[in-house]
C-alpha cells in the first residue's frame, strides 16, 4: 500500500518531522502523541518506537492493536502546502527491549540530522546516566490498512483514499 501511494504523498510521509500517533488507552479513549516514525515502504510497515520510560503507547497497542498516524504539521518539512495524511492500521509491540536494531539505527541517524540538540544525550557521563532509559526502546510495528489524504492540508476538502486492496478512491 505505501509503495503505491502517489509520489507527493510518499514524499510527505518522509519529510514530516513528526506525526500524531494514536492508540486506544486503557479506558478506550483515543490518545495521540507526537512521534518520529520510520517509514518502511518496502516492508509495507511503519515503525514507531518508544522508551520503556514512556511505555503507555506500547501497553495500549498490546491491549488493542488499532492505531492511526496523522501527518499534519509540516514545520521544517521543506515542503510547500503538502497533503495531510491519515494512516489507520494494525499494530503489534513485542515485549522485548531493544537498544540497537536496523530500524533504531535509521531512527537515530534521522534524529541526528533533524534534531541536533539530541546530541547532548550522549555527550558525557552525567547525560548518559540521566538519559540511558531513552535508548531502551520498545518497537511498535504498524501495518497500514487504510490511507486518506487531504491535498494541501485542507481538511474541509474531500479526502483521497487508498484501502488495503489498493482501491484508489479519487
Amino acid at each position: 500500500m505505501l509503495e503505491h501511494l502517489p509520489t507527493h504523498v510518499r514524499d510527505a510521509l518522509f519529510a514530516y518531522r513528526t506525526c500524531e500517533f494514536a492508540t486506544l488507552a486503557k479506558d478506550g479513549t483515543p490518545i495521540a502523541v507526537p512521534v518520529s516514525p520510520v517509514i518502511l515502504p518496502e516492508q509495507e510497515r511503519i515503525v514507531i518506537t518508544t522508551s520503556i520510560g514512556l511505555p503507555n503507547k506500547a501497553f495500549n497497542v498490546r491491549r488493542d492493536g488499532r492505531v492511526s498516524l496523522l501527518f499534519s504539521d509540516p514545520t521544517a518539512s521543506g515542503l510547500d502546502h503538502p497533503p495531510a495524511v491519515l494512516i489507520q492500521g494494525d499494530a503489534v509491540c513485542p515485549d522485548r527491549i531493544e537498544t540497537w536494531t536496523p530500524e533504531l539505527e535509521q531512527l537515530w541517524r534521522m534524529l541526528d540530522e533533524r534534531q541536533p540538540v539530541s546530541k547532548m544525550y550522549v555527550r558525557n557521563a552525567l547525560t548518559r546516566y540521566l538519559m540511558d532509559w531513552y535508548y531502551m526502546r520498545l518497537v511498535i510495528w504498524v501495518t497500514p490498512r487504510r490511507v486518506r489524504w487531504w491535498e494541501h492540508g485542507d481538511f474541509a476538502a474531500l479526502p483521497h483514499e487508498f484501502e488495503k486492496e489498493m482501491n484508489y478512491v479519487g
Binding site: 494514536a22 492508540t23 483515543p30 518520529s36 520503556i52 488499532r66 491519515l86 474541509a156
Partner: protein, 136 residues
C-alpha cells in the same frame, strides 16, 4: 483549571482531535479550536467526511521548531459530542505539567520499574555506536 486550559489553548494555532471512527479505530484530524468561555467547552471543526464518532476523545496541541526542538505538548482528554451543526469537546482537567528535569527523572523511574517487574537487568546501551552517529 479552565483558565489554565484556556490559556494553553490560546497559545496554539490548531490542535489534533483524535476520536473513534465507525470501526472503532482511532482517527485524527487537525482542527481550529474555539473557546466557549461561558460553557467551559471547546468547539472543534470536524470534516463531514471524517467519520468521527461521538464519545471519549482527546485534543493534542503540540509544536516544535525547525530543529525539532523547543517542544511544547499539551494533551487534553474529554468527551466529543455532535450538537447537530457543530462538534463540542468537553475537556477533563489537565494533568499537572512537570519541570524538564523532574520529567526526565520520572521517566528513569518508570524505566527502572519496567525492568524490575520483568526481572531484567539494565541493558547496556551501545554508547560508542550512538556517539559515532552523532560525531559524523
Amino acid at each position: 483549571m479552565w483558565d489554565k486550559l484556556k490559556h494553553q489553548v490560546s497559545t496554539f494555532g490548531s490542535a489534533v482531535l483524535t476520536a473513534h471512527d465507525a470501526n472503532g479505530y482511532p482517527m485524527s484530524v487537525r482542527t481550529a479550536v474555539h473557546i466557549n468561555d461561558d460553557r467551559h467547552e471547546l468547539r472543534v471543526e470536524v470534516p463531514a467526511t471524517a467519520e468521527v464518532q461521538s464519545g471519549s476523545a482527546s485534543l493534542l496541541f503540540h509544536q516544535h521548531n525547525a530543529q525539532l526542538w523547543n517542544l511544547r505538548i499539551v494533551l487534553v482528554r474529554g468527551e466529543l459530542t455532535s450538537t447537530g451543526n457543530a462538534w463540542v469537546f468537553r475537556p477533563q482537567p489537565l494533568a499537572p505539567s512537570l519541570h524538564a528535569l523532574r520529567a526526565i527523572l520520572n521517566c528513569r523511574k518508570t524505566a527502572t520499574a519496567y525492568l524490575r517487574k520483568r526481572g531484567l537487568a539494565r541493558p547496556p546501551i551501545p554508547w560508542d555506536r550512538l556517539k559515532a552517529i552523532k560525531q559524523h
